[in-house]
């Protein structure tokens, strides 16, 4: 039974319906690796992570990333980095950050300088 569709392009293919269990079986190596894409809006600004593309090489990743992430909005540059080359921390080690929120003494907000600034202003304006 050929696939019937409202889309004339699909009908032109005259493709046969294949039950899922008879479809192709992919080995893990048949999948392309992912590349992390970093987008820079204007020269001099930082590159920000915007997502991934799948590609067989970094050059192809760039060719595909350009349309995925540089098609809308202002863009001056892109980076692509193979995801496997990114060293990621293990979530099991998340406890190294556990006490961070309680270290408020490390925040500059701990320094009270507004009184001194006000006093300086009052003195110099007068």
């Amino acid at each position: 039974m050929p696939i019937l569709s409202l889309d004339p392009r699909v009908n032109r293919l005259q493709a046969e319906q294949v039950p899922a269990e008879q479809g192709p079986v992919l080995a893990p190596g048949d999948h392309w690796p992912s590349y992390q894409v970093f987008h820079q809006r204007r020269r001099g600004e930082k590159h920000s992570s915007v997502g991934i593309v799948h590609a067989p090489s970094s050059e192809m990743a760039m060719a595909l990333a350009k349309e995925q992430y540089g098609r809308r909005g202002e863009t001056s540059n892109l980076w692509v980095v193979c995801s496997a080359d990114v060293l990621e921390m293990d979530y099991a080690d998340e406890d190294v950050f556990r006490t961070t929120p309680s270290k408020s003494y490390r925040d500059p907000a701990g320094y009270k300088v507004n009184d001194k600034i006000d006093a300086y202003k009052a003195k110099n304006q007068g």
Partner: protein, 266 residues
């Protein structure tokens, strides 16, 4: 179209109409891959190339309306009989398999690149700036096409053989992109602002194109002599309004919605 302005009214108008018709039909053909591309990312990229090409056609149809007495772009694009279309046989071919569409994309966009490079040397400031603006998109098209050509020609034995078979099929059609046309010699004597002719003529463009294409193919491991690519004869006719059997059904499908109400405002 007012009768006092038979269109295309000049060799330049005719040349631009050829470029616009090529881009319109190529963009339409390439858009047939939308939703059917080999992987999601490539589907998006190739569809975007197709959109660019229809946009390039629009840019030239708009110029032709503003400066050369052509009808509005919708009428020019969708309301001309087949024998008044000036596109070449390469762009008319059905999409075939992905190897065919990629090789065609590569051949076609490098030809467009050379045409826009040449057009950017014209005296006419409006056209000069159109050419310069569109060159950026074509730079991406050729980068995209080069990347695929290189990957598949240097991939597996199967991918290499399938690409070579597509190259042999596409080549005579690609040579036909550079078919000579009536009025060509008038355009090739026109000087640009630097005092040099901006348009080298089709034969010179074809030589330049083929030389660069052979260099790339050889760098990617294709023996162009083994496949006798330089001995193939071009498929001609498109620039004279004689088309392959594939254009009529394409126009039928492409203009189906337009013909429901040709005067509709979109």
């Amino acid at each position: 179209m007012p009768n006092s302005h038979p269109f295309p009214s000049s060799p330049l108008a005719r040349y631009l109409l050829q470029i616009a018709d090529d881009q319109l039909v190529m963009g339409h053909r390439n858009s047939e891959w939308t939703g059917l591309g080999p992987i999601l990312e490539e589907d998006i990229a190739f569809s975007s190339v197709a959109q660019d090409q229809v946009g390039h056609a629009l840019a030239f149809y708009e110029y032709l309306q503003a400066e050369c007495g052509a009808d509005d772009p919708d009428q020019t694009a969708f309301n001309r009989p087949e024998n008044q279309m000036l596109c070449n046989g390469l762009v008319e071919q059905p999409i075939g398999d992905y190897a065919f569409s990629l090789v065609r994309h590569w051949c076609y966009d490098h030809a467009v690149r050379l045409r826009y490079e040449s057009l950017s040397g014209i005296e006419n400031k409006t056209l000069q700036s159109i050419a310069v603006k569109l060159q950026g998109e074509v730079k991406y098209h050729t980068f995209h096409a080069d990347t695929w050509m290189k990957s598949l020609l240097q991939g597996s034995e199967e991918s290499r053989l399938r690409m070579i078979s597509a190259i042999k099929e596409v080549w005579p059609l690609a040579l036909g992109v550079f078919e000579s046309w009536v009025g060509e010699e008038n355009l090739s004597t026109e000087m640009g602002p630097n005092g040099q002719a901006w348009y080298p003529g089709e034969a010179a463009l074809r030589l330049q194109w083929q030389e660069q294409a052979f260099q790339s193919l050889q760098a990617w491991g294709v023996d162009v002599d083994q496949w006798a690519l330089s001995k193939l004869e071009p498929v001609l006719g498109g620039r004279q309004g004689f088309h392959t059997e594939h254009l009529a059904p394409l126009l039928e499908e492409m203009t189906a919605v337009f013909r429901l109400d040709p005067q509709a405002e979109w």
